[in-house]
C-alpha cells in the first residue's frame, strides 16, 4: 500500500526507482552485503538515473521534490533492490547535505552539494563521538581558530559512508561547553591530519561502510564553516527531523519487504500436510504484521506531509521514528519466526533484514532520546 500522500508523480518516480534498483542493485545486493561494500561507481549510476538529487533544489543539481518523494523512492529501492545496506550507504548524503542546502553560502553549495548530487563525491555526517552520541551538546572534538583556519583535534565514530567520504560534515566544538559552543565544519578528504582510523564491523547494514574518523592538527579553512560560529546546535537538531523521518520510512520499507517475504514463504512451505497459511495462527500472525505496518505507515506519512509543508514537529517525528522502529523490529522478528530454521540462515533475506532492523532504535537518536524529545514537548 502506498503512502496516502502519493500522487501520479510519486507513482512515476517509484517506477524509475524500481527500474534502477532491479537493474543496478538486486542482482548484486546479497554479494555486496557479504563483501561489506558496494562499488563506488554506484554513486554515479544513481546520480545518472536521477536517484541522487531527489528532494534537492534544481539550482544545486537536484531534481526537485520534497521529503515525500524521498520516502517513496527510498521505499521502492529497498523493496526492489533487496539490500538495505546499499540503499542507506547511497543515501548518506541525505543526512549530511541538507544543512549545507539550508545554511550554506552559494559558494559552499557549489563546492560540496552539487558534486555529491552528481555522483562525483561522497558525503557523510559526523556528529557521534567515541565518548558519546546521544548527548550532542557534550561533543568534545575541538576546533581552535588560527587565522583563516580552524585546527581540529578529536575523533568521530559510527560514521555512515565515512570510509569513502570526500565531504565530511562534522560537528565540532569551537566555543565553550554546552550547546552554545558547537559549529559545523566541512572537512574534506585529503586534508592533512584527517584519517579513517577504522572500518567498523556491524550487526547489520553490511553493504554500508561505517567508520571511525580521527582528526589530529587538521587545518580546515574557515570558509568551510557552515552557518554561524557556535550556532550549529539548532541546525543539527533541525536536520534530525528529516533524518528521523527518512529512518522511519526505511523501517516501513524493510517491514513491508519482510512481510511480503513471510507471506510468500508461508504459502509455499508445508507442515502437517498443509501450507503454513492453512493454520489460523499463521494467518493471524500475518494480520498483526500487516496491521502494525499500516499504522506505522500512516503516522510516518502524516508526519512527512507536515514536515514537507514546513511545520516544525520534532516530537511527532520522534514518535513516528519510535512507532516505525518498534513495528519494524516486531515484523522482521515474526518474519524470521515464520521461516523457521531457514529464517536463521544467512542465505535467507529475512535473516539479513532482522539484523538490519536492529539499527533503527539506535541510529539517528535512540529510542530513549526520542522519548526525551516527546516528554519535553509534552511538558511533563
Amino acid at each position: 500500500m502506498p503512502y496516502l500522500f502519493e500522487t501520479e508523480e510519486h507513482v512515476a518516480l517509484r517506477a524509475q526507482a524500481r527500474r534502477f534498483a532491479e537493474r543496478e542493485i538486486a542482482p548484486h545486493g546479497a554479494t555486496w552485503e557479504e563483501d561489506e561494500e558496494f562499488p563506488a561507481a554506484l554513486y554515479k549510476a544513481a546520480a545518472d538515473a536521477g536517484m541522487a538529487g531527489i528532494g534537492y533544489p534544481e539550482a544545486l543539481g537536484g531534481t526537485g521534490g520534497d521529503l515525500t518523494h524521498v520516502l517513496a523512492s527510498a521505499e521502492e529501492m529497498i523493496l526492489r533492490g533487496r539490500s538495505v545496506g546499499t540503499v542507506v550507504g547511497l543515501g548518506s548524503h541525505f543526512i549530511a547535505l541538507p544543512m549545507i542546502v539550508r545554511f550554506g553560502t552559494p559558494e559552499q553549495q557549489a563546492r560540496f552539494v552539487t558534486p555529491c548530487l552528481a555522483g562525483d563525491k561522497i558525503a557523510a555526517l559526523a556528529v557521534t563521538e567515541p565518548g558519546g552520541g546521544s548527548d550532542v551538546a557534550g561533543l568534545t572534538t575541538r576546533a581552535v581558530r588560527d587565522g583563516d583556519h580552524y585546527v581540529v583535534d578529536g575523533a568521530k565514530t559510527f560514521i555512515t559512508s565515512g570510509c569513502r567520504a570526500d565531504v565530511v560534515v562534522a560537528a565540532v566544538r569551537t566555543g565553550g561547553p554546552g550547546h552554545g559552543g558547537v559549529s559545523i565544519l566541512v572537512i574534506e578528504k585529503g586534508t592533512p591530519g584527517f584519517a579513517v582510523s577504522k572500518k567498523l564491523k556491524k550487526t547489520g547494514w553490511w553493504a554500508s561502510d561505517t567508520a571511525e574518523l580521527s582528526f589530529e592538527g587538521c587545518r580546515v579553512p574557515v570558509a568551510n564553516r557552515i552557518g554561524s560560529e557556535h550556532g550549529a546546535f539548532a541546525m543539527i537538531m533541525a536536520n534530525f527531523a528529516h533524518e528521523r523521518l527518512a529512518l522511519a520510512g526505511q523501517c516501513v520499507a524493510i517491514a513491508e519487504l519482510a512481510y511480503r517475504e513471510a507471506i510468500a514463504y508461508s504459502r509455499e512451505r508445508h507442515a502437517f500436510g498443509k501450507a503454513l497459511t492453512g493454520f489460523q495462527v499463521t494467518r493471524h500472525k500475518l494480520a498483526d504484521m500487516a496491521s502494525r505496518l499500516a499504522a506505522a505507515r500512516a503516522l510516518t506519512g502524516e508526519c512527512t506531509i507536515r514536515v514537507a509543508r514546513g511545520e516544525m514537529v520534532p516530537a511527532l517525528c520522534a514518535m513516528a521514528k519510535n512507532v516505525a522502529t518498534d513495528m519494524c523490529s516486531f515484523v522482521v522478528d515474526q518474519a524470521v519466526q515464520l521461516h523457521g530454521g531457514m529464517g536463521y540462515m544467512r542465505e535467507t533475506l529475512v535473516e539479513r533484514l532482522y539484523r538490519d532492523a536492529r539499527l533503527y532504535p539506535i541510529g539517528g537518536g535512540t529510542r530513549e532520546i526520542m522519548n526525551e524529545i516527546i516528554s519535553k514537548a509534552e511538558g511533563y
Binding site: 508523480e9 507513482v11 512515476a12 524509475q16 536521477g50 531534481t63 523512492s73
Partner: protein, 273 residues
C-alpha cells in the same frame, strides 16, 4: 525535424498472467509502456539531441496512444523522458484491432506530417507485429523494420537502418518521410547516430530514466484528448478474441543418477532418441 512515436500501454509483462472466464484477467494488472515503444521514444530523443552535451536544438517528438483515459499515465512517462507533446485517442483496448489503430494513425500522420514515424516492432501483449508494416503500406511510405541501429543522414533527408538478419547485419537506407520499427538493440550505447552527438559518445544501456524533474515537467506538457470520430474512424474490429487458456501444466522434471539411466529414459519414456 518532427518524429511521431505511437505508443501502447500493456499489462506489466513481469507479472503472472491470470485467466478468468476464458479471458485474461486484467482487473489487478499494473500497466506499463510497451517496452519496444519505450525504445522508440528513446531512439527519437537520441536522434534529435546532443547526448554528450545533454542539449537539444529544435526538433519535436510527438507521442500518440489509442487507449482509455488511464493510458494517459503511460503517455506522461514518455513526456517525462523528454517527448514534447502527446495525443491520446480515446478507445477501449478491446474495441480496437490493428486495422483500427492503423486507420487512426493514418489520419494523425496526415495531420501532423512527421518526417519520421518511429515505432516498436511489436507490442508485447498480443505480439502481432503488424501495425508498423501496415501503416507504412497504407501511407505508401518507405519502411525499415526491426531496426538494431539507425543513423540520421547529415542532410536529414534519409536514415540508414541496420537490421540483424540470420547472415549478419543488413543495412537499408530509406528516404524521409519514412517509417522505422525498432528492436531491442536500438537502445544499446552507440546504436543511434545523428551527426550531432559525437560518434564516440556512449549512452547508458537501455532507455533513459525519467528524473523527478522530468516527471514534474511532463505534467505541464500538452496532452490532447481526441476521439476516434475526430479522425473519422469507427471501431469495427475484424479480429475478435474467442477465448484464452493457459498451456497445460508441464509434468515435473525428474532427477536421474547417471548418464545410462538418462539415455534409457530418453529412449523408453520420452521416446526422444
Amino acid at each position: 525535424m518532427k518524429i511521431l512515436v505511437p505508443l501502447k500501454r500493456v499489462p506489466d509483462p513481469e507479472l503472472k498472467t491470470k485467466i478468468k472466464d476464458g479471458a485474461i484477467d486484467l482487473s489487478g494488472a499494473s500497466w506499463v509502456v510497451n517496452p519496444f515503444d519505450e525504445y522508440a521514444v528513446e531512439t527519437a530523443l537520441r536522434l534529435l539531441e546532443n547526448g554528450d552535451a545533454g542539449t537539444r536544438e529544435g526538433g519535436e517528438v510527438v507521442v500518440v496512444t489509442i487507449g482509455p483515459s488511464e493510458a494517459a499515465q503511460q503517455v506522461r512517462s514518455a513526456l517525462a523522458m523528454g517527448a514534447d507533446r502527446a495525443i491520446r485517442v480515446d478507445a477501449e483496448d478491446k474495441a480496437i484491432d490493428a486495422l483500427t489503430v492503423v486507420a487512426v494513425l493514418q489520419a494523425i500522420v496526415a495531420e501532423e506530417k512527421p518526417d519520421l514515424i518511429l515505432m516498436g516492432k511489436q507490442a508485447v501483449d498480443g505480439d502481432a507485429n503488424q501495425v508498423g508494416q501496415m501503416l507504412a503500406g497504407k501511407l505508401g511510405l518507405p519502411q525499415a523494420t526491426f531496426a538494431a541501429s539507425i543513423e540520421l543522414a547529415e542532410d536529414k533527408a534519409s536514415v540508414l537502418v541496420g537490421r540483424e538478419v540470420d547472415a549478419g547485419v543488413e543495412y537499408k537506407r530509406i528516404p524521409l518521410p519514412g517509417l522505422v520499427t525498432v528492436d531491442l538493440r536500438i537502445v544499446s550505447p552507440t546504436a543511434v547516430k545523428n551527426h550531432v552527438t559525437p560518434d564516440a559518445f556512449a549512452y547508458g544501456d537501455g532507455p533513459r530514466y525519467a528524473s523527478l524533474k522530468g516527471i514534474m515537467a511532463a505534467k505541464k506538457k500538452p496532452l490532447a484528448d481526441k476521439t476516434l470520430a475526430d479522425y473519422g474512424v469507427t471501431a469495427s474490429p475484424v479480429i475478435a478474441e474467442k477465448g484464452v487458456e493457459l498451456p497445460p501444466a508441464r509434468p515435473p522434471g525428474q532427477k536421474v543418477d547417471d548418464i545410462p539411466t538418462l539415455v534409457q529414459k530418453l529412449v523408453e519414456e520420452a521416446k526422444a532418441l
